[in-house]
Subunit: 245 residues, 2 copies
DNA sequence: ACTTGACGTAATGTGCACATTATTTTACCA
DNA sequence: TGGTAAAATAATGTGCACATTACGTCAAGT
């Protein structure tokens, strides 16, 4: 009763179910780029102003990110980029090892023709990026390789889980990491794993994957000092929707 | 400007950070009890009235449950108890197999004294419940066994992941399931797995776990017709806080 | 008699205003 | 001048009102 005179009309525009995904993806993308150093406080008004959306939209996205483990929320304090402890890092890589060893074992048991084809195509892409010294592309491909292995198992749940683990484990890779990634691991180890799968050698593939992940966790330790930037700079050109990481 | 005359004061009571966990746990508990048949629509006003909380509180809990995969949300339609397809069920059990095979392998490699003690204590509890024909207790213990194995690996991430998988896979166990669980699997298979771990036989433990999970997924198929009850009845005596499942 | 259209009702989604709490600034005193 | 306390400021948390959308009902037309 007694309707207020204001409130003209047409507020939420149209079916903006994609707006949620947009802000969610934007924050996720910035984190994936490593622009946010651990401990950074993601304050809602700033994000709302930068992303040109309402505060509640930002709020919902932050809650989702917290639930998924990518951010940590302190009651009445705010939402922060988590500083993964060495124990958490070890835990994540241990679970990754369990899953990915099982994955390569399964793929080695019955390497179908489509599996072989996609694996060889991916390795070829990595080799190309390596030859051209395209660090960024190689970095992206290195992550997608592990996702590809999960996808080839034809298990949605597995793919989703591994996606989360991989994102959280490579989140804090600094911008200097691709250099070392190029020097040390590179597409060489990936190629060996694929070769073992194609040869139908589960135990060899499993061993190689274990060694590969051990090498990655060693790389993680050597990250330079985190450069603290303001939120406005971090979210400069991340407004559009694009594809999901 | 122009502050409305109403709005007396003292609205949000006190630090009610526990209220969120309360409604979250209440819904989760009802689902765990199997009172909600797949396809049931969880409407916010009803839950708010039954649980004696505001609609926004219910809303937040539902969003969290959706993000964690225990409910599915259809935009502008509502939140529903998911009817897991056979493919999703297969996927979940496949991932569980991967993780739990790795778990028992790891535990078999170096069974510490504390590990041995807790495992034997758990098996003793299961035997007691089985002897007393306490179906409910045995059902709960059967689930906790798998969680216990994960906890003994001393990996928080692993425990959290397996908790989610197990809850989702045993969520739709009907009330008649404990009967068959008692007849078929029972504490016998669990005891064999523990024995293999204590003997330090990783391959045998892994094989037993694989067979055990295969048996469980076979049990899942034989669930009776879902009894549809109203939300008011389902949430009858689930208001208090209690412990988390 | 069955289908199709419009209308009424109820539930979901969202912006907004306010209360509460933490943080920073400032003023005062030892 | 350094330290402490209090006020100001800003950010988070939440209830509420309203818009939008879907569902159920009924009536009219073919």
């Amino acid at each position: 009763m007694a309707p207020r005179p204001r409130k003209p009309a047409a507020r939420g525009r149209k079916g903006d179910v994609a707006a949620d995904e947009a802000v969610y993806g934007a924050i996720r993308r910035v984190m994936h780029m490593g622009r946010l150093s651990p401990g950074t406080k993601l304050q809602e008004p700033v994000l709302a102003r930068v992303l040109k959306v309402s505060r509640e939209r930002v709020r919902k996205a932050l809650h989702r990110l917290v639930h998924e483990g990518w951010l940590t929320a302190v009651p009445n304090r705010g939402t922060f980029v988590p500083a993964l402890s060495v124990e958490e890092m070890r835990d994540i890589y241990d679970v990754r090892t369990m899953l990915e060893e099982a994955i390569v074992r399964r793929l080695s048991d019955r390497p179908g023709s489509q599996v072989m084809q996609r694996l060889k195509a991916h390795i070829a892409e990595e080799r190309t990026a390596n030859r051209r010294n395209d660090r960024g592309r190689l970095f992206a491909l290195s992550g997608e390789f592990h996702i590809l292995l999960a996808e080839l198992c034809d298990n949605e749940e597995l793919t989703k889980l591994l996606r989360g683990l991989l994102t959280r484990s490579t989140m804090h890779f600094s911008l200097a990491a691709p250099q070392r990634l190029h020097d040390c691991a590179g597409p060489h180890e990936h190629g060996d794993i694929v070769q073992a799968i194609l040869d139908g050698k589960p135990e060899r593939a499993s061993k190689l994957m274990l060694a590969h992940l051990h090498g990655l966790v060693a790389l993680q330790s050597t990250r330079p000092a985190a450069q603290t930037v303001s939120l406005d700079e971090a979210f400069r050109d991340v407004s559009p929707i694009r594809s999901r990481a």
